[in-house]
């Protein structure tokens, strides 16, 4: 994973053993540890292990959904449909299983296929239709939300399968979701930095022109990135439905902006071509910890929105400009 063959990334810098992208991730993780220390300081009765476990469990939805967001941002795009797809995924799984574990066998693939399908539509619109990503994903989110609203009137009338609830509440030494998060992170990093498709996504993101010259399947890669983003949002929706024992159509909405924030805080370049999942994961953990600190401090909603906004802007400014890709 240390030999990301980005065509234009080679110039200037020497070949270090640690890719420079890991540095922001480590920095963000250090800040996260610092925040946990502040929580302990503010509220001395805090049980640190319980606190860290709570932070990790509540970070999983964001961490999973932000992987997809990271892939689209890697291509210089964005996926604004993530919140809606999360809600739809949760609604579908409770509607299809209707509280029965037996149905999970086919309901999970069916739900994930539909969510990936929404991403596929986004990708096709962007890659083949030439529609700007933010318009395409916003429009498809609005349309699919409308379909979901028409079919369900907003709330799942069926209970979530108990198996999914167990998945989110059981413990294996630590809460099971922490193992899920770990497993997901390994797969995500292996895909993004270890697979051929992953490296091609970097190449396409850094320089679409060069990618074309190299003969990379640009359309296919773009579609794949958005389909994966839909898939990840679907997984996050399933997990969220299991966590909250019920699904509502708008339950994914609070996660959209944080997915973008997690990617940006993790050191990804918003114009594409740079960013690793470890950074995004660190960003998600940081945001989850920050949210915890804000909650423990009982700050007002206005202040909390302000802080989140300021952090995104700060992260954008902090990105080193020299390598930035103008548009």
């Amino acid at each position: 994973m240390n030999d990301v063959s980005v065509p234009i990334g080679m110039e200037g810098e020497g070949r270090r053993r640690i890719p420079p992208e890991i540095l922001p991730a480590i920095g963000v993780l250090a800040c996260t540890a610092l925040l946990i220390g502040v929580i302990k300081l503010v509220s001395p009765e805090t049980v640190l292990l319980a606190q860290i476990s709570a932070i990790l469990v509540s970070a999983i939805f964001l961490a999973v959904a932000a992987f997809g967001q990271g892939l689209t941002i890697l291509l210089g795009g964005i996926d604004l449909s993530i919140g809606v797809v999360m809600g739809l995924g949760g609604m579908m799984i409770s509607g299809l299983t209707n509280g029965s574990n037996d149905a999970l066998v086919w309901a999970i693939p069916a739900t994930l296929a539909c969510c990936a399908g929404i991403g596929l539509v986004n990708g096709i619109g962007i890659a083949l239709g030439g529609i700007p990503p933010f318009i395409m994903t916003l429009a498809s989110a609005t349309s699919f939300f409308g379909v979901g609203l028409g079919l369900t009137a907003g709330a799942a009338q069926a209970p979530v399968a108990p198996g999914l609830e167990t998945l989110m509440s059981a413990r294996l030494g630590v809460p099971l979701p922490i193992w899920l998060l770990l497993g997901f992170a390994v797969i995500a990093i292996a895909f993004q930095n270890g697979s051929v498709t992953g490296r091609r996504l970097y190449a396409l993101g850094s320089s679409p022109g060069a990618a074309r010259v190299m003969g990379l399947p640009i359309g296919g890669l773009t579609i794949a990135a958005y389909a994966l983003s839909g898939l990840c949002a679907g997984i996050a929706g399933l997990l969220l439905a299991g966590y909250s024992s019920a699904a509502t159509l708008n339950m994914g909405d609070p996660f959209l902006l944080p997915t973008i924030a997690a990617v940006v805080i993790g050191g990804a370049r918003v114009t594409g071509g740079r960013g690793i999942y470890l950074g995004t994961l660190a960003g998600a953990l940081f945001l989850s910890t920050l949210e915890t600190l804000i909650t423990v401090l009982s700050l007002s909603q206005g202040l909390r929105d302000l802080i989140q906004g300021v952090i995104i802007i700060t992260a954008l400014i902090a990105q080193d400009r020299p390598g930035a890709n103008p548009g």
Partner: protein, 400 residues
């Protein structure tokens, strides 16, 4: 004897209906303007209203249309204007702002359109508000909790959606009540946005920092808040007040949970206020009811843990108020139904918006008029002196 009274009443009803039908040959054009229908509460309220609009005799008296205005006030204003232009006779609206709709509502009143709001209110005096915002949920629920806690303990406040008049009103009442007890310490506050997943995350965060918290005050997101405690601290539960999700009511009534320290209150604003407002509006529209004042109170749902009663059928009959596990999803809001004021509704009405088969509209009991609350349901008016005080629960003395 009883049968003949019923028969007489039915005949009387038929007569009244036929007179009403003569007076109005064409069906009334009635619009429902919903806010946001992406959540359980709004969907349940809207389905209850739709079901009533299909219940005889309304099914013949009314042509009913629903418009979803989303969360944008400007859009709601233009939707209301379209309804006026379309020749509405009555509009039932979930208002997105207490003041921004006043001008368009006044236009509607000038065209003799009957305008009702449900749950949220407007200050325009020609509109009728039907709501439980004046029923002091904040003061009553907080007082109930303070009593159950013996006037001491660590409380978490799960606010609703920031900036709404409901949140402001209820929060001020609850904080005033808790503030009277020096032994009650507020250890954390967050905005759960009336959302169970968000609330569960919020409580699990605070719980790690304050492992000894003893109580959670919520307006909604109650079930999620409780789930967070059940996961992190399954043997030591909390005193909690909030919404009326079926799963929550079942937990409240569960003896095993009570032994672990759970003391629950199920209250807060119920979706049944929507169909109730529709029924009041229809009685005003058809001339059966004359309202002396424009602010009507929908009684505050109030089910402490000892009052939970299991239902055997699809309706809230004989005082029952919860469905068995598995019959409805855990988040089904039990206050979507109201056995006393809305006997026409059944589970199917709330889930599919369909009339209960065989049901006919029954006359409403006398309405309860609401207190004035400045900038909420009136302007240039005064709230009663005790508006922040509980009126359903008697406070315990402050422990020494």
């Amino acid at each position: 004897m009883r049968f003949s009274t019923k028969l007489m009443a039915a005949l009387g009803g038929l007569l009244a209906v036929s007179i009403g039908a003569q007076a109005q040959d064409k069906p009334y054009k009635v619009f429902l303007d919903m806010s946001y229908s992406g959540n359980i509460w709004q969907a349940a309220a809207a389905n209850g209203i739709k079901a009533l609009a299909e219940t005889p005799p309304y099914d013949r008296q009314v042509t009913f249309k629903t418009v979803i205005s989303g969360t944008d006030v400007q859009r709601q204003i233009s939707d209301l204007q379209s309804m006026i232009a379309d020749g509405a006779n009555a509009i039932l609206v979930y208002p997105l702002s207490p003041t921004a709709l006043n001008r368009v509502i006044r236009q509607a009143c000038e065209r003799h359109i009957t305008v009702f709001t449900y749950d949220s209110t407007v200050t325009e005096p020609c509109a009728y508000n039907v709501s439980s915002i004046t029923a002091r949920y904040g003061a009553n629920s907080a007082q109930w909790m303070a009593n159950e806690m013996g006037g001491k303990g660590e409380v978490v406040i799960n606010h609703g959606v920031a900036g709404t008049s409901v949140t402001k009103t209820y929060d001020a009442q609850a904080l005033a009540v808790f503030g009277k007890y020096p032994g009650i310490k507020i250890v954390g506050e967050f905005y759960g946005n009336w959302n169970d997943a968000t609330s569960q995350q919020g409580v699990s965060r605070i719980l790690a920092a304050h492992p000894d918290l003893t109580a959670i005050w919520t307006v909604d997101g109650t079930y999620g808040s409780l789930e967070a405690v059940m996961k992190a601290r399954p043997d030591r539960l909390v005193t909690i007040a909030g919404q009326s999700n079926n799963g929550y009511r079942l937990l409240m009534a569960d003896k095993a949970m009570q032994e672990k320290g759970l003391k629950g209150l199920s209250s807060s604003s119920g979706p049944a206020v929507g169909p109730y407002a529709f029924k009041v509006m229809m009685e005003v529209l058809t001339g059966q009811l004359k309202l002396a004042y424009h602010n009507v109170e929908y009684p505050l749902p109030w089910v402490p843990h000892q009052d939970v009663r299991m239902c055997s059928g699809d309706r809230f009959e004989n005082g029952c108020n919860v469905f068995p596990n598995g019959k409805v999803p855990a988040l089904f809001i039990d206050t979507s139904l109201d056995g006393t004021l809305l006997p026409e509704l059944s589970l199917g009405s709330i889930q599919d918006g369909k009339a209960t088969s065989g049901a006919r509209m029954q006359a409403l009991p006398a309405v309860k008029y609401a207190d004035n609350l400045p900038d909420i349901n009136c302007s240039d008016c005064k709230a009663p002196a005790d508006a922040m005080e509980p009126n359903l629960v008697k406070p315990i003395p402050v422990p020494k």
